[in-house]
Amino acid sequence: MEEKRFPEFKSDLCAYCGACVAVCPVLALDLKETKLFLDKNKCIKCMSCTKICPVGALK
């Protein structure tokens, strides 16, 4: 099985739509206007945010 990792964020692709926040089960993501923060203490590496992201900014 692939080793679990944190999602990788590419800010230049981000459209700041909040889709990732909507699916994050542990509220580890915080969108403040045009900044996205990932709290690595909360993140459970489920990768839901990478799947929903409409533009591939989270991988």
């Binding site: 739509c17 909507a22 969108l31 206007e33 409409p54």
Partner: protein, 400 residues
């Protein structure tokens, strides 16, 4: 911040759900404050901006030219082969609106009725006294402050952070959420500027559809919504499809917008002690076409009725407020649950079978299926079945 500290109602979020709640609470003479995190209401837009005429009528909103920018007379459905099924009415069936203007229109109405609205103010958490929510923490231009209210309305959209912080799990499940991407395009050619165009294809929009929502004869919102868990991004689906559409591909992209749509993860519980959730935050969206504006505003009307009753009776308990949940399901939620069942059937339809369907149904049948209940749809389809044996095979395949 120079703002009164105690309110009857604090609404979090200035989209259609929050603004309509503010209007209705103000009409009922309640002291209502709405806080919106963005610096401009109505922006950024995350929406195809289509609103059916039924919603204007039910909600008593006049389609003013300042926001209802383009009338629509129906829809055209495209099968994967390109074959079209036109459903055209002899009167206006809806409008493509300009959300930027619509939200401002609603905000002006709320303000003139006595609601207070403050932009660029993020609600960061709720304040609790034991199990009772009694207000919010907020930040405006770097300044933090606390405000009290009898009831907090979480109308914070699909992100739905406030309800979750308050203790209600509204996280969107990847299966019940669509990933959406859209360009507002100008200088394009498309066939039916008086209709919305919907394209179905598993290749270019898995469990969803592509759309052209016209704002003029060479100007439209062009977008796609797909299953949230799809590995391929919504943007990639749209870009790939545009390559196949010469009339669109050559156009200008004047706005880029993305977003996700809660299509069917309905909540059993939409209240807590002192809290009511409305709109996308409560996943109140049509599970087939993803429209949520009308539903959000209707839910806001139900919520404000209950809020007014609660304030009159001085009862802000979850038990009292939960009347909102049952009333909403009676009025709308149960219908949406039926629509969700239909979507589950549609999801199974392959591109090839879709061709058979489009070839055997006409525009009127589609209307019956879209608007009627499951029984009506079944009747329509059964009649067709008798005429087209190929459909029988399909029914057996999908309705087992």
């Amino acid at each position: 911040m120079n703002l009164e500290k105690e309110w009857d109602v604090i609404v979090v979020g200035g989209g259609p759900a929050g603004l309509r709640t503010a209007i209705k609470c103000a009409e009922k003479k309640l002291k209502v404050l709405l806080l919106e995190k963005d610096q401009e209401l109505g922006s950024p837009v995350r929406c195809g901006e289509g609103l059916g005429i039924g919603w204007f009528n039910r909600l008593g909103i006049k389609p003013k030219p300042e926001f209802a920018v383009h009338p629509i007379n129906g829809a055209v459905l495209y099968a994967p082969s390109g074959k079209e099924l036109v459903v055209r009415f002899d009167k206006i069936s809806g409008y493509i609106i300009e959300r930027r203007m619509f939200e401002k229109f609603l905000a002006r109405e709320a303000a003139s009725k006595g609601a207070r609205i403050i932009a660029k103010t993020t609600v960061t958490d709720v304040i609790k006294e034991g199990e009772q929510i009694i207000g919010v923490k907020a930040v405006h231009a770097g300044e933090e402050f606390e405000l009290k209210s009898k009831i907090v309305v979480a109308a914070d959209g699909v992100e739905s952070v406030i309800s979750r912080k308050a203790g209600l799990n509204t996280t969107n499940n990847l299966y019940h959420v669509d990933s959406g991407f859209q360009y507002e395009m100008a200088g394009i050619d498309f066939k039916h500027p008086d209709l919305i165009s919907l394209y179905f294809s598993n290749k270019y929009a898995r469990r969803g559809y592509l759309w052209i929502f016209p704002k003029g004869k060479d100007y439209a919102n062009v977008g796609v919504g797909i299953l949230g868990s799809d590995e391929k991004t919504a943007k990639k689906y749209l870009d790939d499809w545009l390559e196949t559409q010469p009339g669109l591909k050559k156009g200008s992209k004047i706005v880029v917008n993305a977003g996700c749509i809660p299509v069917g993860g309905f909540l059993e519980k939409m209240t807590l002690n002192g809290l009511i959730i409305v709109g996308d935050a409560a996943h109140q969206v049509n599970p087939i076409h993803g429209g949520g504006m009308g539903i959000a505003m209707e839910a806001a009307d139900v919520a404000s009725e209950i809020i007014a009753e609660a304030i009159e009776k001085k009862d802000f308990s979850d038990k009292f407020l939960s009347k909102y949940t049952s009333r909403w399901y009676e009025k709308r939620g149960n219908k949406l649950k039926d629509i969700l069942k239909k979507r589950k059937m549609l999801e199974e339809v392959s591109d090839k079978d879709f061709e058979v369907l489009v070839n055997s149904l006409n525009g009127e049948d589609v209307l019956k299926i879209a608007h009627g209940d499951l029984i009506d749809s079944a009747k329509t389809i059964t009649k067709k079945l008798i005429k087209n044996p190929k459909l029988v095979t399909l029914m057996v395949k999908y309705l087992k």
